[in-house]
Symmetry: C2
Subunit: 249 residues, 2 copies
């Protein structure tokens, strides 16, 4: 049984302001919770209609379990059809990014992506292709937004998402900076080498001019039909596929 103030606190985590204030976010669904418990994230408490969960206990002895009513579970959930369990997970404070960490790999850099479904899908796709880090501008949608967490389908547990001043970052890394832009080099004939940052822009406005200036190579997905643009998660997926295809043979 949860008190009214506990329910209010948990519900408040649907808003970024309260996630920042309390330092926690929610993960819904047993399958995703298993993946977070088996990751670098710290699962604090699992709220569920059962008393404990042998599989989770096996993954971590530090997790608290609280049995709650289905009614309370529905009150905390951000989903139309709530799943079987909800976990309170600590917002991590990843060590500051060093260029060394990003060497010999590809990293997605998101400049102002706004749609939670797009960010979630980008994280899930990056995880499929073995990308380990995603760097977001400070105005990119918050990765601990419940819609983002849900759309990652558990992949958020394996990907480190950093928020930073992109201008400062791009000026300092020394890595090749590829940008998804119109009128750039054909992506299919570009040799991406074995490392680099791939900048994707905002849904409506693309990459900001100040960031575009720091792109060392503009890259374009050639168009054969009539659509004016590609969805940003789709474009990001095609970049992930192209930069890794030679290693996936």
């Amino acid at each position: 049984m949860l008190s009214k103030s506990q329910i209010n606190l948990l519900k408040s985590l649907q808003h970024k302001k309260f996630r920042t204030e309390h330092g926690f976010f929610l993960v819904e669904g047993r399958k995703s919770i298993y993946e977070f418990a088996d990751s670098a994230y710290q699962v604090d408490t699992v709220y569920q209609t059962y008393t404990s969960d042998p599989k989770l206990l096996n993954l971590s002895r530090k997790i608290n379990f609280q049995q709650i009513s289905l009614n309370d579970l529905e009150k905390i959930s951000s989903l139309k059809t709530p799943q079987d369990a909800i976990a309170l997970v600590k917002i991590p404070d990843w060590p500051a990014l060093k260029t060394e960490t990003l060497r010999k790999s590809f990293t997605l850099v998101l400049d102002g992506v706004q749609d939670p479904g797009n960010l979630g899908t980008i994280i899930r796709t990056a995880d499929w292709f073995g990308i380990r880090n995603i760097i977001c501008s400070e105005d990119t949608v918050d990765v601990y937004n419940p819609k983002v967490v849900q759309a990652t389908m558990g992949s958020l547990s394996r990907i480190k998402v950093h928020y930073t001043n992109l201008e400062a970052l791009l000026r300092s890394t020394g890595l090749p900076v590829y940008g998804a832009l119109l009128n750039g080099n054909n992506i299919y004939t570009t040799n991406f080498g074995d490392e680099g940052l791939i900048v994707m822009g905002n849904e409506g406005n693309g990459i900001r001019p100040v960031i575009e200036k720091l792109v060392s190579r503009a890259i374009t997905i050639p168009r054969a039909g009539g659509a004016e643009s590609l969805n940003v998660a789709i474009a990001a997926a095609i970049f992930c596929s192209e930069v890794t295809r030679n290693t996936l043979k």
Copy 2:
């Protein structure tokens, strides 16, 4: 000014039952309406807060214009933030598909895709890559669902979406049938030739066994990371990119 019964009729088109009964669907936003007016679709009436639209009149003299209040526009709209105009468009009755039409091109075949956003994004992506036809199983989400139409960003005006019995279709075409499956050939080393059908399955369950039996070549997007699966619109995009990449150089 719209009568109450006109408003109810237009609102009812958010549901498939009434779209089928009346033979119409709605397109929202002036930009998409321009694209439909300039296509094989027949735009019947444009409801807007102005009396006419010179650009639309230029595209077709057959369009009716009806000036309505912003309040009425908001009542008809399926969007949280309604756009500036809504068009009543006739549901087309495309000629029956012939194998000849599908030769020397690639066609997406969707087996039970359920999410409107996924179908809309697949149509937009197919349009970018120059794919002209999409064939859906009869239980795939309805393409004239307002969420699908919205997610296509106007691309629906250029793509023909057919609903049919997939089993009968795949048995009869004689074209290569590629299927997005686990444990198939590596997509990056597959020679797709210059024609074929590409079957994508349902979000949760993939391709149905009865359809899988009719796939001549199982194809897999190799995985390097931890995600269990790719979103179907993402997987479809990578297939579109791979089958057309040699023609886009």
